[in-house]
Structures are given as C-alpha cells and as structure tokens.
C-alpha cells in the first residue's frame, strides 16, 4: 500500500504557491512502508479563535519521538500562527491600504497571512526532514486539513 507521490507545486487562488515536494527518502519510505496509524493533534481554543494546537503529547507517539521534541514543534507552529493572525501595526496598515484600493492591491501582493503560511510550510518541511522522517513519522501541514488538525502519519517500524 502506498501513497501517491505528491511531488507537485499547487498554484492556489490569489497566486499562492505551496511547496508539496517531498524528499526522495520520503518517497522511498512511502513506497515501502505501510501506515500503522494516523495521529491527530486537535485545535486548542482556550485563547479564542486564533489558530493554536494542543501541546498535549499523544500516547501513540510514546516510543517514537521525544516528548520535548514534539512539544517544541507544536509550540513553534503555534507561535507562527499567532504571528500570522497578529493584530499589529503592519497588518492594520495593509488592511487600510487594501480598503483604499478597493482590495485590488492583493492582485499583485501577497497578504501577510500568506507569507507566514509559506514560512510554516518551510518549517514543517524542515522538521520532517530532520526530525520526523528518520523516526518513521510524517507531519502534514495543517493548511491541508483546513487548519483543523496537525496530522501525524505513523509508518510501520521496520527499522533494524
């Protein structure tokens, strides 16, 4: 059982590009390894509607990864999402400019949120490469799941 290779760059609305490319090692792993389980980290709404994920360590990952490592990943993700949704001077200025130009400015400019989403995609890619793939795990970018969950695919452990 394998998953189709997601080696394409998807051009989404408003010219947003997401990097879906995966490393060769990952493709190999996918072609060889079967999925043992999928773990979902749900959203944490205790601070409101902003995008934050729960830092509680899922029990299924007990023997796969360090608790600290995992919590660090989630914490950094939360910080990045908070930065995307931050109500600062810069975003307000962007909003005002957009209003004045009847929102046509977004045809040529990326929104602040989109810029941070790209940062997040890069971070997840990096984490996968360095931390998760060597342990037989795979983080899925939450934007692919509608920002509902962080999906962690656990591959069968065939390491010697």
């Amino acid at each position: 059982m394998g998953l189709p290779m997601r080696g394409a760059l998807l051009k989404t609305e408003a010219g947003r590009d997401f990097n879906m490319a995966e490393t060769h090692s990952l493709q190999d792993m996918r072609q060889q390894a079967a999925i043992a389980a999928k773990v979902y980290v749900q959203r944490d709404y205790s601070t409101g509607t902003i995008c934050q994920f729960q830092t509680k360590f899922p029990s299924e990952l007990e023997n796969r990864i360090d608790r600290q490592q995992f919590e660090e990943t989630i914490r950094v993700l939360n910080t990045l999402y908070a930065e995307a949704e931050k109500l600062g001077g810069k975003s307000c200025l962007e909003g005002c400019l957009a209003c004045v130009t009847a929102y046509t400015v977004f045809l040529c400019m990326e929104t602040h949120y989109e810029k941070v989403l790209k940062k997040i995609a890069r971070y997840i890619q990096e984490q996968n490469d360095k931390v998760y793939t060597p342990r037989g795990l795979l983080l899925t970018d939450p934007i692919e799941r509608g920002l509902r969950v962080v999906e962690i695919t656990v591959f069968e452990d065939r390491s010697s």
């Binding site: 609305e13 109500l87 307000c92 929102y103 929104t111 790209k118 509608g146």
Partner: protein
C-alpha cells in the same frame, strides 16, 4: 524569498503525478483533464471561472441587486449629473462614479469570495474523532444516530460549547456555524445573505461591511443630489416640471443596516450571536463576550483591518486519489475519498432531508399564513409585509426578543421606492441533524425554492418549540 527545492518551479502549474494511477483521470497523460477540487466540492455552491469564483446555489437575488444598483446609478448619471455638473460642480459625478465603483467592487468581492468555509473532515479524521467520542461515552453508538455531541472549552474565562457537525464531521470551532443553504460550516458565520448570493463569514465580512457602508453613502449621495436637482430646476421651471425631468427616488434603508453592522463590529459580535443573544447580559451577570478586545477601536480594527485569512479550500488544486487507507471507514462513513466525485452521498442526503423536515416543521405556520415573496419587480413591498409578521429573526428560546430587531424592522416612514433595499434575512443556521431544542428558523423566507415538503408530524416537539418562538416574536 526562497522556497528551497521548489523555487524554480514557482511559476508553473503541475498536476499530481501518481506513481500508481488508480483511475484513468489521474494519469499523467490526462493531466489537462484531471479534475480540480472544486468540481468535487461536497457543499451546495456554484463555482465559476474554473474555481476562482464561489457563490451560493441561489444567485437570482444577487443579479437583482446588481441590476438595481447599476440601473439606479445609471439613471442618476444620465439624468441628474449633466445638470448638476454644469450648474454646480463636475466633482459631483466624479465622486458619484468613485462611490459607484467602490460599491460594485466590494459587492463582487463579497459575493465571489470564499466566506471562510471549513473543509469537511477526511475519513481518517472522522474515524479518529468517532473513536475518541466513543471512548469518552464508554459505549459504541451502533447503527442508530448517536445523541448530539458537544465539547466544552473555556475561552477567556467564558464557557463555550463546541458542537459536532454531523455533515462535516468536525467539531465546529467557536463562532462557526453550519449554513443550511450552502451546506457548509463557515467560520465566524454572520449570516447567509441572499442579496449578495453568498454567506457572510470570516473572510468576506469586511467586504460586506464596506459594501453596505458605501452603498449607504451612495444612496444618500444620489438622493441628496436628486433633491438638489429638483429644487434647482423648480426654481427655473416649476416643481412639477422638475419632477417630470428627474426620475427615481431612493431609500435610506441601507443606512439602518450599516448602523446595525457598525454596532456589531464595534462589539465584536456576529449577526448570529446577536440574534441568539449569546453574549447578552440577560443570560446572566457572568455572561460576556470572550472575543471582544474590550474597546471599540480595537474591535473595529480587528474586523476591518486585521489580517485576511486565506481560503482553507484548495479550490483549484487537483484531486489526488489516495490508496485505500489503513483505517477502514467506521459507522457507515461513506468514503469521500480523495476523488470526492460522489459529492451527494447517502448520509449527506440524509442530512439534507432531515434538515428539510425540520425546516418545514418550523415553516408550516408561516407558510399557511402568507406567501413568501422573494423578490421580483416591486417585491420589496411584499417582502416587507412578510417581515412585519413572523419576522426573519427567531431568537432561540429567548424570553424577550433581542433589541437589535428594532433596527431591522421595516421602517414604515420610508419614501416610496422602486429599488429593493437589501433586506437581510438573518438565517440562524441549521444545526444538522435535528437535536431537540435546536430551532431552525427564518429559512422559509429565503427558501422560496425549496418549500414543497409538508411533514410536520415527524417533528412534533420541534414544531411546538418553533411555534412558541414565532408566537413570542410576533407579539413584538
């Protein structure tokens, strides 16, 4: 900005290439005819321009709005502006033109954009959630529809209940609601607006607000200058002759709506929350709005100038077929698959059916009293009467209707008009499926196309509740 490996490919568009092409449509040779995700979107939306534009299913009223605005403004520019430009200042048509373009721009932006639809859960996610719920309940649900599921969270000291959406198979985030017309969960759901032909939610609320605000200014502007025109002409040729020369008179209704939404923005509430009185102090001394930033300025800033979140639907992305998952679907969750080609599946139809039954149960007293006129020609008048009676606003289980209804009630002292002012049928969104105590309401006023079923017998208690609600409201 470097994207690493993918940088050189930034400007290109690629379809998914599968190592195993399970269906012909996914093969690389048919890259051009591979389906995009919008084509298999499970909600009841219409897409145009290959997924770039997204609207609700019923768009007739939207076209009417467009026509009304364009015709009214056109008449103004054709008949009043030449006179005003020559006798007063040419700045008048210029300002009018700018306002008109702004109104159109914001209207189109509101109507065409994704309001903040939450994509439905993947089968794996849904299965995982079901498992967690079953563990929490301590028993398996079996084949029968399980009781409504809720989760409580504490947000800034206030307890908020998150409801499980049976259609989308997710726990709705706070402030999200399921729109029964579009059959989607929408973030920060305000209301479904037939006049713009779309839901108003997190992503397009600011455009909607700018639309009604600029429309108010435009109508006041046009009205003021038409009056000026008439007065000026009447100095020259007599009042009656002046009236003959300049057609059309315009209403102030949009001003009232703008005022209402200004209030909502400054208190950081949605129309939905206001109607339900979610944060009303009448519910208890401890009840307050946990989302408000505390001061009006910050609330306004957040709503209008805050960062614009991107669409969570990858409408123009290509569908990729995943191989069968390790976890088989449970509880009869039909495979959305990644093909998602069967967009109308059994359980979804069931949901739609059950919601329709519930809607009719509530609608029956309304339907028997007066026809629902949606809008055609001089429809504004019948629409007004329908609002005066059982109103579009149904507070759920509230002892007194919310004060905001005052702003929305039809103002009888309006000048006679030919243009239909944007009424808003505030639809408290349907909570699918029908748990007791959830009142579907006001749907009849917008559901003119979907009226036919009459099966109140199946929803007796709901019917009773809804009748009670309607009686309370009509006593206002």
């Amino acid at each position: 900005m470097h994207l690493g490996v993918a940088d050189p490919m930034r400007d290109c568009e690629y379809s998914q290439i599968s190592t195993r092409s399970s269906t012909p449509m996914e093969s690389p040779h048919k890259k051009r005819s591979a389906r995009r995700k919008w084509q298999a979107f499970p909600g009841r939306n219409k897409f145009y321009c290959n997924g770039r534009i997204m609207m609700a299913r019923q768009t007739g009223v939207f076209y009417l709005t467009l026509v009304l605005i364009v015709v009214t403004s056109g008449l103004f520019f054709a008949f009043d502006c030449p006179f005003l430009a020559s006798s007063l200042t040419p700045a008048i048509p210029v300002i009018g033109g700018v306002l008109f373009l702004f109104v159109l721009g914001t209207l189109l932006r509101t109507s065409f954009s994704d309001p903040g639809v939450l994509p439905r859960a993947t089968p794996d996610e849904a299965a995982d959630l079901e498992r967690q719920i079953d563990m929490a309940n301590g028993s398996s649900s079996g084949g029968y529809r399980p009781p409504p599921r809720t989760k409580e969270v504490i947000i800034n000291g206030q307890t908020v209940k998150l409801k499980y959406c049976f259609t989308c198979k997710i726990f709705r985030p706070p402030r999200a609601s399921h729109c029964s017309l579009c059959d989607n969960c929408v973030e920060r759901f305000d209301h479904h607006c037939p006049w713009v032909g779309n839901c108003v939610g997190k992503r397009n609320y600011r455009f909607f607000y700018m639309f009604i605000l600029s429309l108010s200014f435009l109508t006041v502007f046009i009205f003021a200058f038409v009056i000026t025109h008439v007065i000026l002409r009447s100095h020259r040729s007599g009042f009656l002759n002046a009236l003959k020369d300049s057609p059309a008179r315009y209403p102030f209704y949009t001003l009232g709506l703008s005022g209402f939404h200004t209030y909502l923005i400054s208190s950081n509430q949605t129309t939905n929350e206001d109607i339900k009185g979610s944060w009303s102090s009448k519910r208890g001394k401890e009840n307050y709005n946990p989302y408000s930033y505390g001061n009006i300025f910050t609330n306004c800033c957040a709503a209008l100038c805050g960062p614009l979140p991107p669409s969570l639907l990858d409408r123009r992305g290509f569908i990729q077929t995943d191989a069968p998952q390790a976890a088989p679907p449970t509880n009869g969750i039909t495979m959305y698959g990644s093909t998602q080609s069967q967009s109308h599946m059994c359980d979804q139809d069931q949901c739609i059916q059950s919601t329709k039954f519930v809607l009719q149960a509530a609608a029956t007293p309304l339907l028997q009293s007066e026809p629902i006129a949606m809008v055609l020609g001089d429809a504004p008048l019948p629409a007004r009467t329908s609002l005066n009676g059982p109103c579009a606003l149904l507070p759920l289980g509230q002892p007194t209707p919310p004060t905001s209804t005052q702003n929305l009630s039809c103002e009888p002292d309006l000048l006679p008009h030919q243009e239909g002012p944007p009424h808003h049928h505030f639809l408290t969104p349907e909570e699918a499926p029908s748990p007791p105590g959830m009142l579907p309401c006001s749907a009849p006023l917008a559901h003119s196309h979907t009226l036919p079923f009459y099966n109140p017998a199946s929803q007796d208690s709901l019917h009773e509740d809804s009748v009670r609600g309607l009686v309370k409201l009509s006593s206002v």
